[in-house]
Symmetry: C2
Subunit: 380 residues, 2 copies
């Protein structure tokens, strides 16, 4: 059976993006590449919504997070982290590796970062820089990025956000939302193979890089150097040229549909999956569900890993379970990027309901797919 | 005109490797990928010649160098660097970024690292770890890796070598050559697009990682963590799956020809280019020329950048000039990987001779291509 990934990244790569990946790549110091990379950079800044600059690193998203820590956390300056799961906690781990001891506002798993607790911590800690997660991939939870960023800015902090699973999925306008540094990765909403990290640097972030003073050390992940090169449509180290060729194509897909429509399409698909899955007896794990990843608690007595196994063997859909403390508790369905269309909500919900029924859940109506279909047709 | 890269990395990617790149990539946590990655890892260790382990990072070669520095240089322990050009100097720059002040044995550009000066420095500095370059890409110079490593081991140091442009080109057997840590990149002898770094960790390096004590900080580039994951055919962060699919194919090409034959083929091609280019009035810049990159000084009165331009426009061959202080002084011809065959020596030498004659060099015989051809046919 042909399988389709419904994983929280990597995501299915559209055929035209794979084809772009297989082009014979130009030399990274050639005029042809410089022209392409300059063009791609301008379009990335538009996608992020910044008047600043987006730098491209050959690394995974975690490398982008480390670059933000190495380039913006200063020795002796308080740091605040907002965490709603495994990826929020990663900020703390990276900061600790660099010798910082951040204060943490931790949300219960499945809840977003609490704006009131965040504001209280800002007043108490008076951080020079804050780090938090927009869409928390481990729990399928969306925090209120604009509110958290606004409060942090008002408290005088530089704002760094992990937008790895929100860019190209959820409404995000970096400058308008008052985010100074936004980190993203390639194998999510940008529907590329893994291997690129993106760091959106707003005007305030660029100023701060020019002024220096980060605790570092930073060499490969030195964003000051990367920003300087980016001004000349260049990179300090050899870029992952083939993946950038594919990026040109995947951004073209986003541009053709229009960014607002891309957000709407994700919202509609995610809502239909939530409604259909609920009908199938699953409970949406998150109290503030993201449109990138849906975390579901199976009906009583149904083992999440059995759901993952059944949905794969009987329907060819690849889902994942929870990580670390959520292992054996949830099923996660990823649906980022334009390889997923509205019809996938129906496909996923039919498979989930079949799994629930096959695995012994009682009192199911058999209407999950129809509910998903109706949700797609009704206005948001 | 179709162009062919003769650049010191990236190199031309064989068609079958590009085709592998365009496969629909499996999820990096799937059994299919784990099996592939386990297999690839075993073959990489065979290619490096180590009983240890080769870790794969989503990064450029410089990221691999930084990983070696972050994971092996200890606070307060003396460090020695051997440098014969720009990439040797990069070790010093990365070490400085991490707060180390290495002693440096610097060779004149075009000369290899001097074993006598190296031994004297080892005795004086008594380093805990040494860093040096095997094939120096900026000058086309090969240093005597085995001699440098042996001396460093005898002096009690851990041995780290940049093998970025020697792996898959020059004879290199990591354990036998007494190299503890060997760094390589994807877009050179492994004929892949840029985006992967490889770090070969010999048995002593693995022991040292297990014992801890590196000055760090390291998170993304923490080789202890990467080695631990590699033992389970896994990576700590999302791997660049598509490039690893292509690696599977490019290593297959090397295995089909046989590693000894791959080295021989590079040696033969490089010798023929040197002999033909000399006949065309060029001077080989290096006193110990590498088989990966040939650096050439054009005939008197002929501008290197004009040679690069002419060879590209009239022959479709992409060469490069020198970097930094060698800008305007040399032409560099790259010939790493199996997209280059013996016939390319003839093609390159014909183009170089045409450039020399067109650009006003006098007394040329017109025999460069024939000399290259004869060199290919004569025993090494």
């Amino acid at each position: 059976m042909t399988e389709k990934l419904f994983t929280p990244g990597p995501v299915e790569i559209p055929a035209r993006v794979l084809a772009a990946l297989a082009q014979r790549p130009p030399h990274h110091r050639s005029e042809a590449f410089r022209k392409l990379f300059g063009d791609v950079s301008v379009r990335l800044a538009r996608l992020f919504g910044t008047e600043g600059r987006v730098v491209v690193l050959a690394a995974s998203g975690s490398g982008g997070m480390e670059a933000a820590v190495a380039s913006f956390a200063r020795r002796g300056e308080p740091v605040l982290v907002g965490a709603a799961g495994k990826f929020g906690e990663r900020w703390t781990k990276i900061l600790a590796a660099y010798g910082h001891a951040p204060e943490v506002v931790a949300a219960e798993y499945g809840s977003p970062i609490d704006p009131a607790a965040w504001s209280a911590a800002l007043a108490r800690v008076r951080p020079g820089v804050v780090f938090f997660t927009h869409s928390e991939t481990s729990t399928g939870t969306l925090s209120d990025l604009a509110a958290l960023a606004r409060a942090a800015r008002e408290a005088g902090a530089l704002v760094v956000a992990d937008c790895v699973t929100s860019l190209g999925v959820h409404r995000f306008r970096q400058d308008e939302d008052q985010v100074d540094v936004a980190v993203a990765g390639s194998q999510k909403g940008l529907m590329l193979p893994p291997g690129l990290a993106f760091v959106g640097l707003g005007p305030r972030a660029l100023e701060r890089l020019a002024a220096g003073g980060a605790a570092g050390p930073a060499f490969y992940f030195d964003l000051a150097r990367a920003a300087k090169s980016a001004a000349d449509a260049d990179t300090p180290f050899t870029p992952a040229v083939s993946t950038i060729l594919a990026l040109d194509e995947s951004m073209r897909m986003i541009e053709e549909l229009g960014l607002e429509n891309v957000w709407r399409r994700h919202a509609s698909l995610a809502r239909a999956i939530r409604e259909g899955a609920t009908t199938a007896g699953f409970r949406v794990f998150s109290r503030a569900p993201a449109d990138s990843v849906t975390a579901l608690v199976p009906p009583d007595g149904v083992d999440p890993s059995a759901v993952v196994k059944h949905v794969k063997s009987a329907h060819g859909l690849v889902l994942t379970g929870g990580q670390d403390s959520l292992k054996g508790k949830i099923v996660r369905v990823g649906h980022m990027g334009l390889a997923y269309g509205p019809e996938d909500a129906v496909v996923v919900c039919r498979a989930l309901e079949d799994a629930a029924m096959t695995l012994g859940a009682t009192g199911r109506s058999g209407a999950a797919a129809a509910v998903a279909q109706r949700a797609l047709e009704s206005p948001a």
